[in-house]
């Protein structure tokens, strides 16, 4: 006996529509979601993978001579416990140390700031031959007959030991090139009794961006000094601080075709708080504005009216 069961045919139902959630659309939705998170800079992803709008905050420099091997905060620096800044200056040279010796030696470690762009060795030697190499690069960056003097450059960072091979006495001055703002405290003479503020002004844009205040002090010695605070100007390597008889120069042409200006100093640092002695031959009272001038570009970057 067979127990084959003959089933009646089941009416066929239409197959269910295919799910729209196939791998392709699912991946597309995930892509949209990731893009949405990236667009909101969620967890700092955009800054990390594509680029932050500004440079990372770094400690500002406290002086033209490095202490503890690098940048440190001072009372002139921006407020805040960390005294860090996202602003960047035009690269400038900060003194690190001066080494002296006679004959060959390996120096004590020299601390080059990890954020430094490069360092330079300004050297002099008296007799024979001088070579200087860093611990990590055997090829010397100084290799010269003596007596002579010149400058060599290196790109090592951190703790750098110099291997000096010499036949006589030598001197090597080490500077590091950094681009952090410099916040110098006011000169002692600016705050001593007898000092007075004779003029002050705020920077405004001319051809480039400039901000901050300029203050001119009459020092107890009878000379004058100029101080820049909360200062920033579009970085360039050929800027000058000039005093102008114009009340408020508005354009390069107005300044360049106006009355004779007086040079105060070249501007190597373009952000921070800075002091400059005004040359004694400059009669401060003849001038009514300060102009940040680039002779190479023939352009007035920024200016401040003095009052």
């Amino acid at each position: 006996m067979t127990d084959t069961l003959i089933r009646p045919p089941v009416p066929s139902e239409p197959p269910p529509p295919p799910s729209p959630w196939r791998p392709g659309p699912v991946l597309a939705v995930i892509g949209v979601l990731v893009a949405a998170l990236l667009g909101g800079n969620f967890l700092g992803w955009r800054d990390r993978f594509i680029g932050a709008p500004t440079a990372a905050p770094v400690a500002v420099a406290s002086g033209r001579q490095a202490t503890d091997g690098g940048a440190t905060a001072t009372s002139a620096a921006p407020s805040g416990a960390t005294a860090k800044s996202v602003l960047r200056s035009n690269p400038w040279w900060q003194g690190v140390t001066t080494l002296q010796g006679t004959g060959s030696t390996t120096t004590a470690p020299v601390a080059i700031d990890p954020s430094a762009l490069q360092f330079r060795a300004t050297w002099t030697c008296q007799t024979g031959h001088l070579t200087v190499a860093s611990n990590s690069r055997p090829r010397p960056f100084v290799d010269s007959s003596c007596p002579s003097n010149n400058v060599g450059y290196g790109v090592d960072k951190g703790s750098v030991t110099l291997k000096v091979t010499a036949d006589g006495p030598w001197t090597i001055k080490i500077d590091q090139q950094i681009d952090v703002p410099l916040y110098e405290p006011p000169l002692p003479a600016m705050t001593s009794p007898g000092a007075s503020v004779v003029a002050k002004g705020d920077f405004y844009r001319v051809d480039q961006v400039g901000q901050g205040t300029v203050t001119i002090y009459r020092l107890p010695s009878g000379t004058y000094a100029l101080r820049l605070d909360d200062f920033f100007v579009t970085p360039n390597s050929d800027l000058e601080i000039r005093l102008s008889p114009l009340d408020a120069p508005k354009s390069t042409d107005q300044f360049a075709n106006g009355p004779q200006s007086a040079l105060v100093k070249s501007l190597d640092v373009t952000a921070g708080a800075l002091n400059f002695d005004i040359p004694p031959e400059v009669n401060v009272r003849q001038y009514h504005s300060v102009v940040l001038w680039c002779e190479v570009q023939h352009s007035a970057y920024a200016a401040a009216s003095l009052s």
Partner: protein, 381 residues
């Protein structure tokens, strides 16, 4: 003798086609009456002014590459779906609009053949075309304005470190080049909007936006822009935003896209007012020009996603007025059906992410530093 009567058969004008591998492929050439050609003419005129007298930081190469990518992509996608070679008027317009508004940081005016940041223009073009052809959750048509979504996505994803939108103002108030550009925009607005009957919507946007931004100006709001010394506040705040050529471009030539705006007059009014209110709400806390421009653009991304709801509301209202019941599914079933669709989910993510991501720019010190010009050569807007 009479002349024999003749029956003449009017021969149909042969439709243009090309023969490829033995297959006849219809060709659709540009139509002189196509309003998109008018809009393209206006944008090209403004591009010419931008390259010659307005100092746009945009290269001819960037414009051409963006238009080429959009045109080719549009042509290929249309061919794949319709098996026709169609003049890519929409693609060209999208590419032109993207290159008109998007900027790559560091591009200098007059550097005409620079390809700087070209990848960002290509990204915007690709996003625009993908969104147009893939995100069609409603009635089989695209939801988002293609150039708008491409620009918003690129500005948000790439960020202010590398891209920025064209400045609100293109020169000094009343200067010759700016007056010429304004004349082109106003004439173009009339010329382009008339055939598509968008004047009411544009007016609704401008009136609402002007009033709300005026209140902000009176309340002391301000913003910083790279082209201005110090914060912009008071009357300048209002003028620099509401009367800016960039805003007029946005209103006349972007939100008025007939493909993505509602069809009904009442829906268009709601759309205009709604976009203005969303834009104003987004820009209220913004303190940078970058944030304000993104607020404007993101508002449209958001409200484009509301168009199906606006149209639905208008249809229900009309049905009620006519005493009929619109044949629609219950709301819960509609919602359930919708969330099961990847395109709807993607559209929802985009619509919400645009304003939310724009809001993350509030208080972003990096953007403020860029707008104050304190980043030097790192990010030279």
């Amino acid at each position: 003798m009479t002349s024999p009567s003749t029956t003449t058969t009017v021969a149909e004008k042969p439709k243009p086609h090309v023969r490829i591998r033995g297959k006849d492929i219809p060709v659709v050439l540009p139509n002189r009456r196509d309003p998109r050609l008018r809009l393209s003419a206006i944008i090209f005129t403004l591009q010419f002014l931008g390259q010659s007298v307005l100092g746009f930081k945009l290269s001819i190469a960037q414009i051409l590459v963006t238009i080429l990518v959009c045109g080719l992509a549009e042509g290929v996608m249309t061919y794949r779906s319709a098996h026709m070679l169609v003049w890519p008027a929409s693609g060209i317009l999208t590419g032109n609009s993207i290159s008109f508004i998007l900027r790559a940081s560091g591009t200098k005016h007059g550097d005409w053949w620079s390809l700087r940041g070209i990848q960002f223009f290509v990204l915007a073009a690709v996003v625009s075309l993908l969104a147009k052809h893939l995100i069609r959750p409603w009635r089989g048509k695209h939801l988002f304005n293609p150039s708008n979504i491409g620009i918003v996505a690129t500005l948000l994803i790439i960020g202010p470190a590398r891209v920025f939108p064209q400045y609100l103002w293109w020169g000094r108030y009343g200067s010759g080049p700016v007056l010429a550009a304004m004349a082109v925009i106003l004439f173009g607005g009339y010329w382009v909007l008339k055939p598509v009957r968008m004047h009411a919507m544009v007016t609704a946007f401008l009136a609402t936006f002007a009033v709300v931004v005026g209140i902000y100006a009176l309340a002391g709001r301000n913003f910083v822009a790279i082209w201005h010394q110090g914060p912009i506040s008071g009357m300048s705040y209002w003028v620099d935003i509401v009367c800016s050529p960039e805003l007029l471009i946005f209103v006349f030539f972007m939100i008025s896209d007939p493909q993505t705006a509602p069809k009904s007059p009442r829906g268009r009014l709601m759309f205009g007012v709604g976009t203005a209110l969303v834009a104003a709400a987004l820009l209220l806390p913004q303190s940078t020009e970058f944030g304000i421009k993104l607020s404007l653009l993101s508002s449209l991304t958001f409200t484009c996603a509301l168009v199906p709801f606006i149209e639905g509301a208008v249809a229900r209202r009309q049905a009620r007025a006519a005493g009929t019941t619109p044949a629609t599914m219950p709301a819960r079933r509609r919602l359930t059906a919708a969330v099961l669709t990847p395109t709807v989910v993607a559209a929802a993510i985009i619509a919400l992410a645009a304003p939310i991501d724009t809001s993350t720019l509030i208080g972003n010190k990096g953007v403020v530093n860029i707008e104050r010009g304190l980043t030097g050569s790192r990010n030279p807007q």
